[in-house]
């Protein structure tokens, strides 16, 4: 049966327009930071429609859509200011559980990701282990039928609003540091877990430190084989660098920034020179088009289980670069008006100043999920040998 893609797009469009609440669309349209409130409400709406997991296979509760449908979905949602899907559950740990989990683990965790009742965060990085993730030292030892976790994670996005954390722990000390690491799923309300917020340059609260002090976790919350967590971690990281929404969101951002520049130029009435910004915007427009095809090809390879090679790294670098350039243009456009309004007294977002926050926030695009230097090492190793 051939798929009517145009009809599919129309169906999505009318759904996005009618089903996504205006207050959620307003947050997305204004470029504000999307929090659990918006993500979760939207996830529940999508799930009720049967579209809770566009990237999962049907047997796991996903839509089973093909690559083209998935890209159309992402584009239509971005075009209509709907929030992206919450990546940690749907994009990261979900596929890992589908691939490596036991039937019991799938039954326990996947439905709660789909209906938005579980909120996941990622406990990988530690104070001493960032780019060198495999050197991590948070430990888990089996004691009386439970894993007992001790250590610290850092830069944990969303930990303060998450109900679950998937974390890498050291379950044994082996000669090779990648061995002896396991992937553990831990409820955030387990006694012994402390979350401390980190104040970030963007003025939003999204990062945290998470401390584990004799945290007891049921033994069957370990995914895959004991000591083989690195395989899961790599599987996950590859997906983390290939989020299907990335390019569609870039196009949304490009439209927003273009409008912002137009408004600022009008307000400045010739008193400020916008020539340079217009030029930079055109380059971004071109780069988004290129990135869109890179993304489609990589997703196709992923679906057909062909090796991805350096594509995840290349796409992550490209999207990070364009996102940073776009928010930099926004910063230049609104800076004089907004730099003094960075944060309102009452703490709410201020229009325009949101774009300065976004500029600051997107600095992390070349850091989180593997820095651009690390991605360049991956690409260079492929071209030149390690």
């Amino acid at each position: 049966m051939s798929i009517d893609y145009a009809g599919f797009r129309r169906e999505l469009e009318s759904f996005a327009r009618s089903a996504c609440p205006p207050e959620i669309r307003a947050v997305v349209a204004a470029g504000q930071k999307i929090t659990k409130r918006e993500y979760q409400a939207w996830q529940q709406i999508l799930n009720a429609q049967g579209w809770g997991a566009p990237s999962w296979p049907r047997e796991a509760g996903g839509t089973g859509w093909d690559i083209r449908q998935r890209l159309i979905f992402e584009e239509v949602m971005a075009e209509n200011d709907c929030p992206p899907l919450y990546h940690h559950g749907l994009g990261h740990i979900g596929p890992v559980i589908i691939r490596f989990g036991t039937p019991d683990q799938k039954a326990r965790f996947l439905p709660r990701i789909l209906d938005g009742s579980d909120w996941w965060c990622q406990g990988y990085s530690e104070p001493g282990s960032g780019s060198d993730l495999a050197s991590l030292s948070t430990s888990a030892r089996l004691e009386g039928g439970a894993w007992v976790v001790n250590g610290q994670k850092i830069w944990t996005s969303h930990a303060h609003e998450a109900s679950m954390i998937y974390m890498l722990v050291r379950t044994s000390k082996e000669a090779k540091k990648q061995e002896g690491i396991s992937l553990l799923l831990v409820p955030m309300d387990t006694p012994g877990i402390t979350v401390r917020p980190i104040k970030t340059i963007d003025g939003w609260h999204h990062l945290n430190e998470v401390f584990f002090d004799d945290v007891r976790v049921r033994a069957d919350n370990l995914i895959g084989e004991v000591g083989k967590g690195w395989t899961c971690a790599k599987f996950l990281l590859e997906r983390e660098r290939l989020p299907p929404a990335n390019v569609a969101r870039l196009e949304l951002m490009r439209r927003q920034v273009t409008q912002l520049v137009e408004e600022a130029a009008q307000a400045a009435a010739g008193q400020r020179d916008f020539g340079g910004l217009h030029h930079k915007l055109l380059l971004c427009e071109a780069d988004v088009k290129g990135a869109r095809v890179m993304m489609a090809q990589a997703t196709d390879d992923l679906i057909h289980q062909r090796p991805l090679g350096v594509q995840p790294s290349a796409i992550k670098m490209t999207c990070a670069d364009v996102a940073q350039r776009l928010t930099t243009i926004a910063l230049d456009a609104v800076g004089p008006d907004a730099a003094h309004r960075f944060l309102a007294d009452a703490g709410e977002d201020v229009p325009d100043a949101t774009w300065i926050q976004n500029y600051m926030f997107t600095r992390a695009r070349t850091i989180a999920g593997g820095t651009s230097e690390v991605q360049r090492n991956v690409v260079a190793n492929e071209l030149l040998g390690a």
């Binding site: 980190i198 340059i201 990062l207 730099a339 003094h340 960075f342 300065i356």
Partner: protein
């Protein structure tokens, strides 16, 4: 390493400001340190009870604070205010400068942080008795308590400066935390009635004072940027040497070594440019304003590139406000938008390729290296 970052404006003022900043950087600002430390007296002439100092003296204070990451509105309270007051008649100027020097009047300029003091946001209308002021001024620095505001205004095609009681102006319409961590406020004046005596200066003297205040603000902000750049790079170097990944110090990765080297070379260029600006200023150069605009555009470019590099090389620490390098990066980017952003200065440079913005300044000597 300190040999790589010699002070721009060395001396006792720098040391004192540096010590103060170091001791207070982690705290909320209490009271009014700028006045308590006597810094408002720096530019006030000796006959009015001031220190009779130069812009280089003030730059020492700016450098000391920026080096340790403390944010205080020194440019606004210690340069813009006394320089604008000079526009008043001798007796009025003397009285208020004296009050500024001893800290008995806490005067803040009611000008937007993002615009030069030459930008006029307020209009005055002469009534039978007194005046009324109308206008919207966004982004006024309110980090320190103010008893009076100094308001540059446009009045019947003429220029004037008003000195208005803070109480009369009332509370701002909105308050914000600025990007660099100061307190910014938006004011809306709606036919605010002020007495006849509030108008303290008019005419050519006002234009000259505003030009001087603008030059001083641009110069001092440039000095702040260069001092902050030194701190940013110094902190980055420390981080690269101390932080270890893959069993080695980050400083062993060539890509990071080159990146920090690029930052340092940019810093040297920026420093050279700022020294050049101070020389032009001291020599009363005809081209001063054009040079200051060029510096503004160029420093913005270098400072942002360095700020972004420092954030990147700090990894996660680069986005944490607890880290001095991160806050310094924020400061550098915020400074781009103080006293005109680069798009504004580029527009002016392109509109006036030849220098015709002559500003005459009394020749002050300084110790800039």
């Amino acid at each position: 390493m300190s040999a790589s970052f010699p002070s721009l404006f060395p001396g006792m003022l720098l040391d004192a400001a540096g010590r103060y900043a170091e001791d207070h950087v982690a705290q909320e600002i209490q009271g009014d340190p700028v006045r308590e430390l006597g810094w408002t007296a720096t530019l006030v002439p000796e006959e009015a009870g001031g220190a009779g100092g130069t812009l280089s003296d003030l730059a020492s204070i700016v450098e000391g604070l920026a080096t340790h990451g403390l944010q205080l509105p020194v440019v606004e309270t210690c340069a813009v205010v006394p320089l604008l007051l000079q526009a008043a008649g001798a007796e009025t100027a003397h009285r208020w400068l004296e009050a500024v020097a001893e800290g008995s009047a806490r005067i803040a300029p009611m000008t937007a942080l993002s615009a030069t003091p030459e930008h006029l946001a307020v209009a005055a209308r002469h009534l039978d008795i007194g005046y009324e002021l109308s206008g919207v001024v966004q982004g006024v620095d309110l980090t320190l308590p103010a008893t009076h505001y100094l308001v540059p205004v446009q009045m019947d095609g003429d220029d004037a400066i008003f000195l208005v009681d803070a109480e009369r102006v009332g509370a701002p319409k909105a308050r914000y935390r600025t990007m660099e961590g100061r307190l910014g406020a938006d004011f809306t004046l709606e036919r605010l009635a002020v007495p006849e005596s509030a108008c303290i200066a008019r005419g050519a003297a006002v234009r000259e004072a505003r030009a001087k205040a603008t030059d001083a603000a641009l110069l001092l902000t440039a000095a702040d940027t260069v001092a902050a750049l030194a701190t940013l790079i110094r902190q980055t170097v420390i981080h690269l040497k101390e932080r270890r990944q893959f069993g080695v110090a980050l400083s062993s990765f060539q890509v990071l070594r080159h990146r920090v080297a690029d930052m340092y070379v940019k810093y040297l260029g920026a420093k050279g440019l700022v020294i050049h600006c101070f020389h032009e200023y001291e020599q009363n150069a005809a081209d001063l304003r054009r040079t200051l605009r060029l510096a503004k555009v160029s420093l913005a470019e270098s400072a942002r590139a360095c700020a972004e590099s420092a954030i990147q090389m700090h990894g996660g620490m680069g986005v944490s406000e607890e880290v001095l390098a991160t806050r310094t990066a924020q400061r550098l980017i915020a400074s781009e938008f103080r006293y005109g952003d680069r798009l504004m200065h580029v527009a002016r440079l392109l509109a006036q390729p030849q220098s015709d913005e002559r500003v005459s300044l009394s020749n002050q000597t300084g110790s800039v290296r």
